[in-house]
């Protein structure tokens, strides 16, 4: 039986006031194919189609989703479709007035990113003076009784501030803290040498998380996942290709994951042309790596029988490190290319960032 998706990730716009050097958006966000964003009615229609397909969770993301002028309408559309909606925002535009309008329209949950618990460091990493606005945004969210998640992408240049970050989260009254160790897709690839943490940093951070969990209990749920590069077995990327989630890009292309456009030869159907149901069940991009039939060795005869546990890991990572999107994820110790993951663990001494921008093509 075909799986049903539970999550729709709506990338409303690739425009963003921040320039984070690990942004998961494609490197070619400035390309003209992303310039024509979907109309309000395309999105609203997709929300209904998504619910009928089984989707329960809708994430408004980007870029910066708050740059969409119709965000209030889209929130109301999500509520009418019966979806649970989350706003994934940098927070700089989440003013009291707009927050109240989104609350009234039925937005369920707010997730605010923080680049570092230190104001100057936050602004340096984001490439934009934004820390104070983020803190104000978090307070608006709490005042309006939104459940609040703080998200921080972790890397070599902020991991040592983990205790400050945990305390800040508590102070802001967040009920969730998502500690997202950098994944090397999108802009993070261009900055891998400046971002890759050391094993000691990760260990210290994990211990800090453990102490915090014991101290605070279930009042704050901390999500902490060891970064891929320090693993020996792959994770089920996106819960498996075409198994749990759909990503709709600003131009309406529907992808199995946010980085799938890096895979050559995949054709993405567009919500302007096809219903989501067809795209999920029939389109080439979703069928390509779904299930286990596409797998090569060593996955095909996995010695641990993990084919339906990790679903082969991440296709984009396989492509980037082996040149073949259908290869085993080289995070796996059984991959013949695992040495490339081990070699990348050596943190380089580069501190310089290549900042995310739409203005000029990235050269990497």
């Amino acid at each position: 039986m075909q799986p049903r998706p539970s999550t729709l990730i709506a990338e409303l716009s690739y425009q963003c006031p921040l320039h984070c050097p690990y942004c998961s958006n494609p490197l070619d966000i400035g390309h003209e194919r992303y310039r024509t964003e979907l109309e309000t009615e395309h999105w609203i229609r997709s929300f209904g189609e998504a619910r009928r397909l089984g989707v329960l969770q809708l994430a408004f993301t980007g870029g910066e989703p708050m740059l969409r002028r119709d965000l209030v309408e889209l929130c109301a559309g999500a509520r009418d479709a019966g979806l649970y909606s989350s706003l994934i925002t940098a927070g700089t535009l989440f003013t009291r007035d707009r927050a109240e309008a989104l609350k009234a329209a039925g937005l369920d949950h707010v997730q605010i990113s923080i680049q570092s618990p230190d104001a100057a460091d936050n602004d340096r990493i984001a490439g934009n003076r934004s820390f104070e606005k983020k803190i104000a945004a978090a307070r608006h969210a709490r005042d309006l009784d939104f459940p609040l998640t703080i998200n921080c992408v972790l890397h070599r240049q902020n991991l040592d501030r983990i205790d400050e970050l945990l305390d800040l989260t508590l102070d802001l009254g967040a009920q969730r803290l998502e500690l997202a160790n950098t994944q090397y897709y999108g802009w993070a690839v261009a900055n891998q040498e400046a971002l890759m943490p050391s094993w000691e940093q990760l260990q210290r951070a994990e211990e800090a998380v453990q102490r915090f969990r014991e101290r605070v209990g279930p009042a704050v749920h901390v999500l902490w996942v060891l970064p891929d590069f320090y693993e020996e077995l792959p994770k089920p990327c996106m819960g498996g290709w075409g198994r749990t989630a759909m990503v709709v890009a600003p131009n309406g292309d529907v992808l199995p994951c946010q980085a799938a456009s890096t895979i050559p030869g995949l054709e993405f159907a567009n919500v302007r042309d096809h219903p989501l149901d067809w795209i999920w069940r029939e389109s080439d991009a979703f069928a390509r790596f779904r299930g286990t039939d596409w797998m090569q060795e060593p996955c095909r005869t996995c010695p641990l029988g993990r084919q339906e546990v990790d679903w082969g890991g991440c296709r984009c990572q396989a492509l980037r490190l082996t040149g073949d999107a259908a290869a085993a994820d080289p995070v796996c110790r059984f991959s013949p290319h695992h040495d490339r993951v081990v070699a990348a663990r050596e943190p380089a001494q580069d501190e310089q960032f290549v900042y995310r921008t739409m203005k000029r093509p990235a050269r990497v």
Partner: protein, 86 residues
């Protein structure tokens, strides 16, 4: 736990597509059986645990439900999904 209520942002609904009750939470969903859904519906921050046990027991013709209610509410509280309104 005096007067349990769902955590801020947690929302009960029936998923017509999968034909099951779910508790929707930020970026997740907890699948529920019909009885668990009834218990959580009663966790409104007004009723005490005794009230909830009484109301549920009445629905099931006086059946002994206390242990089941305490176990479910305890497990949900452990996950931060049910909190005390008192």
């Amino acid at each position: 736990m005096t007067r349990p209520r769902l955590a801020t942002g947690a929302r009960l609904r029936y998923d017509e597509v999968r034909e099951e009750h779910v508790l929707l939470i930020p970026e997740g969903a907890v699948r529920l059986n019909a009885t668990a859904a009834q218990v959580l519906e009663l966790c409104d921050g007004e009723r005490s645990l005794d009230d909830i046990v009484g109301a549920l027991s009445a629905r099931f013709e006086g059946a002994e439900v206390r242990d089941d209610v305490l176990e479910l509410v305890g497990a949900m509280a452990q996950r931060g999904l049910v909190v005390d309104a008192a």
